[in-house]
Subunit: 128 residues, 2 copies
């Protein structure tokens, strides 16, 4: 049984959420957004593309850094307003040099601590 891909961009002003999860470790690497062009380009090329809200443009993940996300599988949620990509991550997902963007956790209602206290992050000067 199959259903037609019909992403619902209406609730998000033309965007859907897009999560990248490491296909092997299952670690959630990052979460951003896609417009229709980003989704279709991701499907067509086999590499994750996003829509940058701050730069108002299509964004191939890793285009400048080389930290590409090769698509292993693309899943769509029940109401088709979110995309989950299982990816093979080259290098790191986060622009801070960390494997995942989710490197801090809430310790109370006010503060975050770092999951990788001992690690020295890499270059933070450009978007990964």
């Amino acid at each position: 049984m199959t259903t037609h891909i019909d992403l619902d961009f209406s609730k998000g002003n033309g965007l859907v959420s897009a999560i990248a999860q490491d296909a092997n470790s299952k670690e959630v690497l990052m979460c951003a957004f896609m417009n229709r062009e980003a989704f279709e380009t991701t499907l067509a090329t086999g590499y994750a593309h996003y829509y940058s809200r701050s730069r108002d443009s299509l964004w191939k993940k890793g285009e400048s850094s080389g930290h590409l996300q090769k698509i292993r599988e693309i899943r769509v949620d029940c109401d088709q307003d979110c995309v989950l990509m299982l990816v093979e991550q080259t290098g790191v997902a986060c622009h801070t040099g960390r494997r995942s963007c989710f490197y801090r956790r809430a310790v109370n209602t006010e503060e975050l601590d770092f999951l990788d206290q001992d690690k020295t992050p890499g270059d933070t000067s450009e978007k990964a």
Copy 2:
């Protein structure tokens, strides 16, 4: 080392993305949104709360269905516009009766198939 929690609601019209991931299996269960109230209520109560865009209201996950999400850990991403919750899911996350909302995958550029072809989903009449 700690940093202050200072979620960036500005880019998302008052909302940030919120992902629920099974704390044990690492399966991504769902993705929705939080406003400030939903985030603070989640932290304060230890159970996932979201903001429903379609209903324009705070939404305690599982309030009617009993399918609560107990927070094991809350992570925040690098630019503080996305929250990742590691949760202990009671019952199922999806309103279709499936464990995860991501039960379909793209088989080509047009169609989705079902990861659980053999499973009969549960009640679809109310939001989980």
